[in-house]
């Protein structure tokens, strides 16, 4: 059913949705969504949402099962503590994407903001997956305990950084896959580089100068046709990949193996299917896998 969200407060919109679901409705087209928060918050079951416009913060928080397609950008904390389901964002998404998520998939065509995938965890059959088409900001995968974070770097221009600082800090489970469409130039220009110390005096200036500029909701909902241009690049410069600088002290980065590629392929296929992209150019990129050094990162911290 269609709901026109114009001038509707989030509480009224969400209450309406809950009532319609209670009455048996399974499919929603939400029109003129303009920043309403908490859409599909705590909703369970096989429900579908097509959101036209920009949904507000906490889209799909605590969600358990539904599928959401956002035909535009999304704001902060998409998929907060999500249990299962799928959220597809055709534009960019903001900060704290997938916080504490333990299942389901988040597919974002464009860039994602800071603190993405913090404390994602896996449990039993549940493997949460985040695929970001563009770039990711600082603290990607901080405290990560499980699942998959995939950053594809589509539309990444030479000199731009694929991920921000402090990637994988405190990571103790799961895997992060980074795809560099033009690895050679990027590593040379600091694309994979991460500030070397939490107390480094230059961290601030680094963010300011080379840093990642986060997507705003004013950005283009369709991130463009960079697959064709980026995909044609031959992967080079693998040897420059410096584990310590990309993955920090809690994790290790290594070139993705064939098994890694097999592992992420289904999600790349899902990404391409969701956004009508060709898989082959995507696969030609150079992938690295970041994995934790320990499941017990603080095991030796205490006196005993």
């Amino acid at each position: 059913m269609q709901i026109d969200a114009s001038n509707l407060h989030y509480r009224d919109l969400n209450q309406r949705i809950r009532q319609e679901i209670a009455a048996g409705e399974k499919r929603f087209d939400l029109l003129n969504v303009n920043g309403q928060r908490y859409i599909a918050d705590g909703i369970r079951g096989d429900i579908e949402f097509d959101i036209h416009g920009v949904p507000g913060n906490d889209l799909g928080a605590f969600m358990d099962g539904p599928t959401i397609r956002v035909h535009g950008n999304a704001q902060d904390v998409v998929g907060n503590t999500m249990n299962s389901g799928r959220i597809i964002v055709h534009g960019h998404a903001g900060d704290v994407l997938g916080y504490g998520m333990r299942g389901g998939e988040l597919l974002v065509r464009g860039d994602v903001g800071y603190r993405v995938g913090i404390h994602m965890k896996a449990f039993g059959e549940r493997q949460p997956v985040v695929v970001a088409g563009g770039r990711a900001g600082d603290f990607l995968g901080e405290y990560m305990a499980g699942g998959l974070l995939i950053v594809l770097g589509l539309g990444l221009r030479p000199g731009q950084r694929l991920v921000g600082n402090w990637c994988a800090t405190g990571m103790h489970g799961g895997s992060i896959y980074l795809r560099s469409p033009h690895a050679g130039s990027e590593v040379a220009s600091g694309g994979f580089r991460r500030a070397t110390s939490a107390k480094g005096p230059h961290a601030g200036s680094e963010v300011a100068s080379g840093g990642f500029r986060r997507a705003t909701s004013a950005g283009s909902p369709h991130a463009g046709s960079e697959v064709a241009s980026a995909g044609g690049q031959r992967p080079t410069g693998q040897s420059e990949l410096d584990s310590a600088s990309v993955a920090g002290e809690f994790a290790r980065a290594e070139p993705a193996t064939g098994d890694d590629r097999d592992r992420i392929r289904p999600y790349l296929e899902a990404f391409c299917e969701a956004f009508a992209l060709d898989l082959e150019p995507l696969l030609r990129g150079h992938f690295v896998r970041i994995a934790p050094l320990s499941h017990r990162p603080f095991g030796a911290k205490y006196a005993a």
Partner: protein, 529 residues
């Protein structure tokens, strides 16, 4: 390209040109005196070896008689309690050190342990330094001659307490001559007595311990609190009397969990460890804990220090309403914070962010594990925090918008009554509940070896705690405190806890300095009404 962790650390150190953030440590043994002496009276000893079996810390072995490894003895008294011959005595080690008022024995012991291990000191239960306990500087009023006291044996006393947002006004409407409420009241929790069990997760305590607490809460008509450990199926039947917690690790938090509880609590901080997170070590993450927290077996359960979706009062409001949306506005939302310097302003922000309940945890609050230095030196007393928060909310005219739960070292019904007179709607007890389960306060919960089966996950130890017997002890405690509260109310000449609530006129200070008494808003003893 494969590197060992150590090579990795070196690489990092050299490539950055900076020293590695954490230098490698190696154990460097040092002389450390033992905490306790353990003595067995050989003449009384029945040679039953029960002491060997009972010690959760494996401090006692048998070589033609019990042999104790004093380095492992924590003074928990399990062996002594189960010795049928009463042959065992545990005493503090009287070893004489030249006294020094600055370098106390505790400082020396801590320092030696750190020199040996290079680790952060760990502690459990509440702050054990002799800071002033302000409850002991407060006295309650009583009736004499001019205002009659009430006999609670003869007259009904009202301890029932409602927690949650109270409306600014209650509009009444007439429907065909019948008066009714003009608008729906916000959701509220009904407690038979103004007590709750404090947040203690399955993981920090054993399942039998949590089950005992949950059953007692149900029987007594009060509330228990899941802590940040999810909801195990065995305690699910008691969830309707539980606060279900949502904290930074989001362990076990999902839509069913949120809707199963009576209230949802956002845990920002804990009195024993304000501003820091928690680490449940991977070796305690058993299959059952893994299922309840919804994390892999054997993986550290790390609760980051902040919730990474909350960096401001506005962000807190966002999570409060995300939880209200997820529970269709049917559950009160509580926000738990540690009492810190700026607590009054923070509490005001929390109320304005939409919280229905504020849970204030003072610096003496308990913990299953915290860095000693944090436990012993951060935060402020609950007595002062409670008084200034209540005052601030009253001055702003928003006191009705949220209830206050006070916790952090409530030892008796007298402490509870004083807290309520200072402005609390109810008090929460954690350590007191564990003591009622048989805890002897050895303060080694963080080892996971609790001989009494309370703060361990070892099945051989947890089965020592009978949840039914445990819950009966807790029920007895709640009954006893409630009866005492009725006695106190009667002596004060009031017949409802509501009449004592926030009534600082019924308190007086003894031996308190003027600024502290002013902060508490309590007159000195000897000053009349």
């Amino acid at each position: 390209m494969s590197r060992s962790p150590d090579q990795h650390t070196e690489l990092r150190a050299s490539s950055s040109g900076l020293p590695a953030r954490r230098n490698r440590t190696a154990r460097a043994p040092i002389y450390r005196p033992r905490d306790f002496l353990w003595e067995n009276d050989a003449e009384r000893c029945g040679r039953c070896k029960r002491c060997v079996q009972q010690c959760g810390f494996q401090a006692i072995s048998w070589e033609d008689g019990p042999v104790v490894d004093l380095a492992k003895c924590v003074g928990c008294h399990r062996c002594e309690a189960f010795c049928p011959q009463e042959a065992i005595t545990i005493r503090p080690n009287p070893q004489y050190f030249r006294p020094h008022p600055l370098w106390t024995e505790a400082h020396r012991r801590n320092l030696w342990l750190q020199a040996e291990t290079g680790g952060v000191l760990l502690a459990a239960m509440g702050n054990d330094l002799p800071y002033p306990v302000l409850w002991d500087n407060l006295l309650l009023d009583a009736c004499q001659v001019t205002n009659p006291s009430i006999d609670p044996l003869r007259e009904p006393m009202e301890l029932r307490t409602f927690l949650g947002r109270k409306p600014d006004r209650v509009p009444l409407v007439s429907r065909q001559g019948e008066l009714g409420l003009g608008e729906e009241l916000p959701p509220a929790l009904e407690l038979e007595t103004p007590l709750l069990f404090a947040a203690m997760s399955y993981g920090s305590i054993s399942l039998p311990a949590q089950k005992a607490i949950a059953m007692a809460a149900e029987e007594c008509g009060i509330m228990w609190n899941t802590g940040e450990g999810g909801l195990h199926p065995d305690v699910r039947p008691y969830a309707h009397r539980a606060f279900v917690q949502c904290a930074s690790g989001r362990f076990g938090v999902h839509a069913d969990y949120l809707n199963a509880g009576a209230a949802v609590e956002i845990k920002i901080g804990q009195g024993a460890k304000p501003g820091i997170g928690g680490h449940l070590p991977g070796e305690k993450v058993s299959q059952a804990i893994s299922e309840t927290r919804m994390i892999p077996v054997g993986s550290d359960a790390l609760s980051p220090a902040p919730q990474h979706d909350i960096y401001s009062i506005e962000d807190l409001r966002q999570l409060i309403y995300a939880l209200k949306e997820a529970t269709d506005y049917q559950k009160p939302v509580s926000v738990k914070i540690a009492a810190v310097h700026n607590v009054a302003a923070i509490a005001s922000g929390i109320v304005r962010a939409g919280a229905d309940i504020i849970y204030l945890d003072g610096f003496r609050g308990g913990t299953g594990a915290a860095p000693t230095i944090i436990r012993d030196h951060l935060g402020i007393p609950i007595e002062i925090a409670l008084a200034v928060v209540d005052q601030q909310l009253r001055e702003e005219g928003i006191r009705n918008q949220a209830s206050i739960i006070a916790a952090g070292g409530i030892r008796s019904s007298a402490d509870a009554a004083k807290a309520i007179a200072l402005g609390a709607d109810a008090v929460a007890v954690g350590t007191a509940a564990l003591l009622a389960l048989g805890c002897t306060l050895c303060q080694r919960c963080y080892t996971g070896r609790c001989s009494w089966g309370i703060t361990t996950q070892d099945p051989a130890l947890t089965r020592r705690l009978d949840p039914y017997l445990g819950s009966q002890r807790l029920i007895n405690l709640v009954r006893a405190w409630s009866a005492e509260l009725e006695e106190i109310l009667g002596a004060m000449g009031v017949n409802a806890i509501e009449s004592l609530r926030g009534s600082r006129e019924r308190l007086r200070t003894v031996g308190l300095d003027r600024p502290t008494a002013d902060l508490l808003g309590v007159k000195p003893a000897g000053v009349g009404a």
